[in-house]
Every structure is written in structure tokens, then in C-alpha cells.
Assembly symmetry: C2
Homo-oligomer: 209 residues x 2
DNA sequence: ACCTGAACACCGTTCAAGT
DNA sequence: ACCTGAACACCGTTCAAGT
């Protein structure tokens, strides 16, 4: 996707495999993706990848982990960009996540589990996803401490926010919203719209119990 | 899971295959599930399934479709049980969904896409998922008309509710919440908790713009 | 009409052997 | 140290042939 990458005959095959795998993954979906195919795309024999990845799953996990890192970065960016406005931080981080998902839906699905059991996956993935979650908790925690968000365990509110953005992301990635969330502009609009509901709630006359 | 099912030598193999597939699916995850294995579990040759399903995907789609039907039924039940209380209907429907996901997480993942591109899937699945979504829209629409929910396009609020419950379901199914949402009681609690946030919002001082 | 067995092209993974 | 080629057990799918 970036550089020409030609003579990896003894360059770093590891990265080359990952870079070769992602477009294939996006083109035909996981499950249909074969390690042999990735090897061929990288210009090596079908056995070569095993010198760098223990497993087909190990390759997929690495790709998924990078996805989580992207989300983490989106959180950090949002925090720096909207200091002292936690609500806006939340909205921007969420939209960053959504945009990533629109661009690489199959990679997103890898992150969502299903192929890889996040339950019992390698440390790389477990770490990356935990870090991403922590970044979100940070934002929400800041909002609670600043008195912007309701006083509640930050984890509780974070889970709500995470569920909402993750749910929307999942719906987009699975094509359930085809026709509603096809391009970046529509996704931005949807993200803002849902954030509105998340912040203000659904009720008409809220007695705020 | 229910009946003994012995002599399907010319009974309805179709259902037998589905019933045989689900436990295998739950045991080892999709992708690892092989059609040959399902056939063996059903006591037929590996070629027999092709008389009833065009494809391995066709079998999986049917299973996913049944999952969506379960969600639809959860919506209907909740509507009947809490007439004139749309908020409670929403909560109960959501919890029904979550409980299904805890019990059959791999089937849930099938529904969430990833394996099957919901984008371009068979009519069976497309219909079932559309029906499920419509059931949720019905509940929200009732709430808007009754003045309980904010005045907004029902689809907009529904998408928020759907995203939240679907997101939480996805997190549970992928094992991301292991230790927090392991049994039915914890899931019920989590569901109610998130519903609270969805209904009341996250903000401390809501100016309700 | 429904099922079987052999067959084909493809996989993931392993391992001795090459450079 | 890193890569290759052959090999093994498995898969999805097809198709002639059986009942």
C-alpha cells in the first residue's frame, strides 16, 4: 500500500507478510484468506511464513492488534485536540474508530472476534485491546472528574460508550447499514447523531433518578 | 439438543444437519467447523448435505437467520409483557438479546457478519435480520408516539438502541467481558445498567438542546 | 428422490534438505 | 539464520453411480 517492496529475499519478511495479507483480507474476507496465498503475494514459498508466525492465527492476531492500536491513537488525538471538552473528545474518538472501520471492515471484523477467540488469544492482541479500552476509560474518567458526565463509576459509563460505538462500527462493518453509511461523510453524520443520543439520552421528560 | 433423532436415513436430513451443526459450532467456532464433520455427526456421507444446502455458507446463513428470529421473538414478547411501557419493552428486548448471545456466542458471531458478508447474503438472512430490526423500530416508534422518548426520527433513536445492545452483545460474545459478564445474572445487571445510560444520557447537566 | 464413493483442487502444518 | 520442496492429513465441492 505504501512502498514498492521488491527484494525482501532476506529483508524483513514479517512486515511484508502483514502488508501483503491486509489487502487480500479486505478483498475476500477472512476464512477465505489462505496463508499460502499471502506467501505467494509476498513472493516466498508457502512454508516461509512459519519462520515468522507460529500460526495462521498469529498473523491474524497481529493484524487485529494493529487495528486496536489505531483506536488507541484516535483516543489520544481526540484528547489532545479538545482539551477540557470530554464530550467532544468522546465524539471525536468514536468517529475516528468508525472511519477506520469503514476503510478496513474485514480487519475490523478480526478485531471483533469470531475468527479469533478474544477469550484465549495471544498476549499481543489482549494487550492492544486492553490498552484501547483504557484510553477510552481515560476520556470518560476525565469527563466524570470535570463534572461534565454523570457521577457514576467511569467503567460503567465507558462500557456504555464503548458498546454504542462498537455496535455501530460492527453494524457498518457487516454491511447492515449499506445505503446509510457508505462514505466518510455519512459515517461522520451518523457518529455525531448517535453521540447526541448517548449524551442526552432517549427519554423525553427525564426525571434523572 | 432436544429429541433422540436416530433414523433420519430418509427423515428430514435438513433439520438434522442444522441441529448437528450448532453444538459443533459452539464447541470449536466457525471457520474450524467443517461440513464433513457436520455430515458425520448427522450420520451421513460428506456429500449428502449438498442435496439440502447449496453451500457451506448456506448452512451457516440458516443458523444465523434463526438467531435473528430469536431476537424478533424477544421483541414481541417484551411488547406484550409491558404494554404501554416502551422503555421497559426496550430494556427487556435488549436483555433477551443479550441472554441469547451468552448462550450461543458463536451463533451470535455468525449473525454479526464477518464470516458471512451480510452485504451480499442470501434472502433468508437478509429477511430475518430486517424483520428483527423492524421489531425494534416498532418498539421505539411506539415510545416516540406515546411521548416517552424524545421526538426524533424513530430510525435515529432505534439505531442508537440497536447499536448499544448489539455492541454489548458483541463484546460479550467475543469474550472481551470475561469476568464481568459470565452468567445470566451478571448479564441482566449489565443490560439494565447500560439501558439506564441509554435512556438518561451521560451528561450531568443536560440542557436538552 | 435421496444418498454414496471416488475424485479434484485446495488448505494448514511439518520437516528434512538446501543456501 | 532463513528459505524451499515434498509430504501428510484435511477440506469444500462435484459427479457418476447406486438404492
Amino acid at each position: 500500500m505504501a512502498k514498492p517492496t521488491r527484494q525482501y529475499h532476506h529483508g524483513n519478511l514479517r512486515s511484508a507478510l502483514i502488508e501483503a495479507a491486509i489487502p487480500l483480507l479486505e478483498a475476500q474476507g477472512p476464512g477465505a484468506l489462505s496463508l499460502r496465498e499471502v506467501a505467494k503475494a509476498a513472493g516466498v514459498s508457502h512454508a516461509a511464513p512459519y519462520r515468522h508466525f507460529a500460526d495462521k492465527t498469529a498473523l491474524l492476531e497481529e493484524i487485529a492488534a494493529r487495528g486496536y492500536d489505531t483506536l488507541t491513537q484516535a483516543c489520544h488525538k481526540a484528547q489532545k485536540r479538545y482539551v477540557d471538552d470530554p464530550a467532544q473528545q468522546l465524539v471525536e474518538a468514536g468517529i475516528g474508530y468508525l472511519l477506520f472501520v469503514v476503510e478496513q471492515p474485514r480487519v475490523a471484523h478480526l478485531m471483533f472476534g469470531g475468527m479469533i477467540a478474544l477469550d484465549a488469544c495471544g498476549e499481543v492482541l489482549q494487550q492492544s485491546s486492553a490498552t484501547a479500552f483504557k484510553s477510552l476509560v481515560d476520556i470518560v474518567d476525565g469527563g466524570v472528574k470535570a463534572g461534565v458526565f454523570r457521577t457514576a463509576p467511569a467503567q460503567e459509563l465507558t462500557l456504555a460508550a464503548w458498546s454504542m460505538v462498537h455496535g455501530l462500527a460492527s453494524l457498518i462493518a457487516s454491511g447492515m447499514l449499506t445505503g446509510i453509511a457508505d462514505n466518510r461523510r455519512e459515517v461522520r453524520r451518523l457518529g455525531r447523531q448517535l453521540a447526541e443520543t448517548l449524551l442526552h439520552g432517549m427519554l423525553a421528560n427525564d426525571k434523572r433518578t
